[in-house]
Symmetry: D3
Subunit: 294 residues, 6 copies
């Protein structure tokens, strides 16, 4: 089944043909609250934290705005200012909530270490950086660029995740571990993409126009991979950990090494059957690749 | 001499056959205090910092608890809460102090830039992240998982060191520079291991069970190396900087490149004579390797 | 035109033969204030931030000291102490201002995403880490080493940029994105160098003497490149992204891969015509390199 | 003209018969912004403060919510939580804005040291404590008593103004200097009242029911006056500084001394012609009183 | 029944002849937790605050230490240091817990506005200042005077309650409202005393020896009363609000006015039947006094 | 000897005919450092505080600027801004240092509870508020009124001491305890004056011109005294605690009561022989006064 930007996670139990996106968000938010309530009961030392970040809030947007405002504030950019900015932006664009819910489901479905939605909401710097980026991106598109860049800078300082506010990012994204991710100004990322830590979607440094990678739906990019220039990574492709990719990669193929080579060869590369961005299978090519190992 | 999990650093001067581990910790703590006192005298601008972090405390555990509590706190996880948590955990398990002392000695012995024990205690994010991880690991094993994960998240935010609280780590560990280290849930690290920055001990993404590397005693892992999957890195092996390792590595061999190859070849790899985790010799294989350089 | 440590950026419009370095700094500072004023007017939510960091200050040094003091402070190293330290150091050594101005111009000239001087001053962690490093380096040379190392530690925590205070760094430097940069104690970096994120200038771990790379003027080091040992990277050389370099690289040549190879071959490497540290052309060697791509 | 709860300050210049309360608030807010803009221009060191507290906000309610949230927050009651609480309450009850505007006008009209509306908004602890009290009072009436009491406690800690959240306070109130004011649970204060610092409206301590003073419209209570028990201070009365009042005071009379006596005598007390709460004439009774001075 | 330092509040319901002081403290602590739990459930916005201050703690001492540490800390006296200091002192001297419990019961019994034990514990600056004073007093007696004075200064800054650390204070004390209370170095306060705000127990300024008032058991001191010099206020006496007392006051008499006079006259003063420190009857003397009112 | 604005404290031991004011300040600063050093040695828990506030600074002005900056800062008025403001003002006007030294000596000489200069410098809110006021006063005279008023507001919030920045205050001033002091815009205070807590130098509320008291040299104003209107308190007069003064008071006389009466009678008031502002004898008039006591 091809990745098409449609989210393929199991629907909430109550879903039927009339389920709307709001139901979905409501269901996830109800899960988060239930998880937090359970954790607060079992761990009093954490209850204050869970109440302030989740249980005292009436919606996912308010919880996220509070949490991001407190994480990203500094002595010169106060938490109240950021809280207000996040809350206003989340409220004005329901698409941001939809994307956040899709990202939460992506983390839960793809990362075996993700034990709950609330764990992702509270603790995943990749998730938090991505939601804050979406707000910065919106500000950028509203020509509020100095503010977008200030937010960008805070995200980079606090999470060590550096996503230019102009970069376009789809939904159902998993930034796993996330430390050291760098994504340039003209990069575009589709839906249902999974990106590990230390991944670079960089420019060529030469031009000032469209100069960063375009990542198709359902792509998986392994830890430490570097993709440079306005290249196209086809839908459902897999980029091996540590690869350095300077050329287009066809859909549903695997690329490994530095410089990166297509597994199976340029002419007739091996085709993947499942969507790696969702299966998160980093290493199934190991048997194919072992021939290159001395 | 094989790495066996025994610490081989020079004993404190007063050591004799009756020296206990407590003497060792006491000796190191006395050194730290003497260093801090000397620095406070020579640098009044730093004296306040040295008194609050070291000189006002009666033990290494209290100093560490104070320092970690203040480093890892946030507006929603207060320093007093964390201080209490650290102090209670350090006090309840003397093994944590033993491991901290072994790590301090490792940094001092292996890193030429480590000018004093107190320098490591105060300034080494790898050391601090490792001690905080040990507390998170203990909480994890006590089934206090939400708290362990919250701590994990703070360590990742503050130090850019991402060690899953379930990961098992030995003692005498040096995380050098440490930024960007990622260690997955089922990883195991032996004793006397040295790990440079940007190192990944990652999962395959496929399975949800035991899916991360097992690192033997005395291993040295160079900067930016990526080791993926439930592979075994044998005792005293050396993983070259930037390597991408997807297979087992025999003891006392060297692995380099992306994809990683054994120096000397698969069949008859060159054998190391000293323990690289302790000698920190990253580059002695350069002559062997130069054949591969164009 | 060879890189020689002379800055080649367009002079300020009013420059004539009597222009001094002070005029240059004055012109850049005036630009910064004008940019900040324009941004404060168009974005009231950011005006407070812009006034506190830039518009309330009478000089670049005061602005930088304030901004760094607030960014790098912690509960045990107060902002007032750091502010004082930065301001005294910047005031006592005009060379630090000259270098800061050269770095600002480098970012503006080489990074297409750098929309203004003030954007760099406020938001570029690489720029800020570099200025703070210069202060730490000065303290180191004044034998105030505990203070230099404490500052080093704060820079590494806050910016995830780890530059040993003893490392020597020229001027006109661009640390682009900067997260994860590690530069060792005996490293030397010339003028007009551009260094991307995740770059390591590391030691061999073996010796305790001079053990880190020497980077010539005008060099460009791509993202994730690892250069280890006391090797010499010649003037105007280009180190490809993800390279692992263990040997000297001749001037104006390009090195790629892991292990790194000279583009064009060891015997007769291709010679670059422009200075890559300034042109920031990361990928022009792609055609040369594509032969290695499967 | 008797004090009747109608505000008698000069209307804004544009007022005509159709002027509404919203116009009034709008006019005052516009004045505040103009004042702050002028001050920001003349004093760059204060511009950041003025932008964050006033100039970045779109309404008086937002400015007040921000300012109070930042003033009253603590490490366990975060500014974002308080900001949210204030903003929601101010938004839900337009009467709070009306009262705030009346108080601003009162300070401006009655206190010669009040140089501008913005000076009062930013700097008058009495004004700020009163606005925060009104929010606490609303919470109290909504049976959110623990929250009301927590807010009460913060107001008392931060401003040294202790007003029980159940106390009823009119509009057009000036708390001048304000330090040490204590107002008990069942106290009621009318409109256009002026209260100096160290004033106590206390209980008798005996009963638990209605046990605190009732202050009529237009009353002036001098510094350090203590009024105890469920006594009635008539409209337009004046309570001399340092008085200790345990009995009812007739309208438009003056009370002085400890214990308090009516100026002119019990039987035929001297009658005031103007409203002391608005004229702020503390000492016109001096000639009457001097007979009592030895 | 005379005040004798014995606490006369109703015992906890489970008390019988074997009830110890520990049972009493345990019962009050259980009440506090139950109250906080109820409030946290009814008011989610406050739940985080209630968990961090009360519900996450295992004892009254830990809760108090946390709360005081966070209230009294400053940028130069960190919360962790104060928390540690409070916890160690409370733990080392069970008498401090006994006194705290007696004070909690006093507030609950005497102040009609005190709706719960937890309300007093969290919100009463008089209660908190008194507990912190007891710790400062202990430090003073241990000759840790600079620390005692630093704590004294923080209490005065934060609560506007200024009690010299050498002053001796009994148990079952109610400082009602508390703002502006000043108690000098050689003052002594018995048990079951109630003191309103703005009360001064001051020195004569002349001598440097024993120069402050001695307050007997069960005394009630009204708001704004000033007692100066080494005078003796007898058991069960009542000092009227605003009195200025420079002479001894016999037991169970009432003093009013400035200068203070005995109600009923010097020779045969009216005798009180109940203990005013506990009944809190500030104003029953009003009928007696009214003769003096013009 | 009449109070004439000359400071009469014992000179430092090394003083001879050539001693200048700078020597005096130097001697006091040396004392402060010696005291702090002794306290830091005896109390490690306080050493960090003592180093940051005193021992790391090279002058009294820097220490005061640091301490005030950290005490008076808020989330919207940063410590670095205030530190800078204080340091620049203290440096530009040596008279401020002279006055601070005179105030330190006054506290040491007159307050038996003042155990050391450093105790006053660190802990006396009256001393700190007065030094901060002098800076605000200077700003006021430089027509930087919004900044002066913002500082005024912070002093009132933090210390509960409310001195209008326009008020003129001499040197050798002791504000003892200080909580609740209120001093109006046109008040003038001479040299060697001692003012207890809760003292008001208030306006009449009627006029907007010169409307506050003028306090002569050497005056002592007791706790809770209220002086209202443009009245003149003659040199060396004593105002009894709790007095309410509305008329001029002749030099070297004593005033007591509410309303205030001259001790000895209007016609032939008793004359004081020593300077009460320096002897701090609050209560020697007690025998004279006792006739009025019932």
């Amino acid at each position: 089944m091809p990745p098409e930007g449609e989210l393929r996670y199991p629907s909430p139990p109550l879903t039927d043909s009339t389920t709307t996106i709001d139901d979905e968000a409501g269901w996830v938010w109800a899960q988060i609250k239930a998880e937090a309530r359970r954790d607060a009961e079992s761990e009093p030392a954490l209850a204050s934290y869970l109440y302030s970040t989740i249980l005292s809030h009436s919606s996912l947007e308010r919880s996220l705005s509070f949490h991001l405002g407190n994480k990203l504030c500094s002595s010169t950019l106060l938490s109240t200012l950021l809280y207000d900015l996040f809350l206003n932006t989340f409220t004005s664009d329901p698409g941001l909530r939809v994307a956040a819910v899709a990202d939460l489901r992506a983390a839960r479905a793809r990362d075996p270490a993700c034990v709950s939605f609330s764990h992702c909401l509270l603790n995943y710097k990749g998730f938090l950086a991505c939601q804050a980026h979406r707000v910065a991106h919106k500000l950028w598109n509203q020509s509020r660029r100095p503010l977008a860049l200030a937010l960008h800078s805070r995200i980079s300082d606090v999470f060590a995740v550096d996503i230019h506010p102009a970069a376009k990012i789809g939904k159902g994204i998993l930034f796993d571990h996330a430390t050291g991710v760098v994504i340039g100004e003209t990069a575009v990322i589709g839906n249902n993409v999974s990106i590990l830590h230390h991944v670079t979607l960089g420019g060529t440094g030469k031009a000032s126009g469209d100069r960063h990678p375009k990542i198709g739906d359902g792509v998986l990019i392994g830890a430490g991979a570097t993709i440079l220039g306005n290249v196209k990574i086809g839908e459902g492709a897999k980029i091996g950990a540590g690869s350095v990719v300077l050329i287009d990669v066809p859909p549903r193929t695997t690329t490994v090494g530095n410089p990166a080579r297509l597994v199976g060869g340029k002419e007739k590369p091996a085709k993947l059957e499942e969507c790696p961005g969702e299966s998160m299978d980093h290493t199934s090519f190991i048997s194919d690749w072992s021939d290159y190992i001395i």
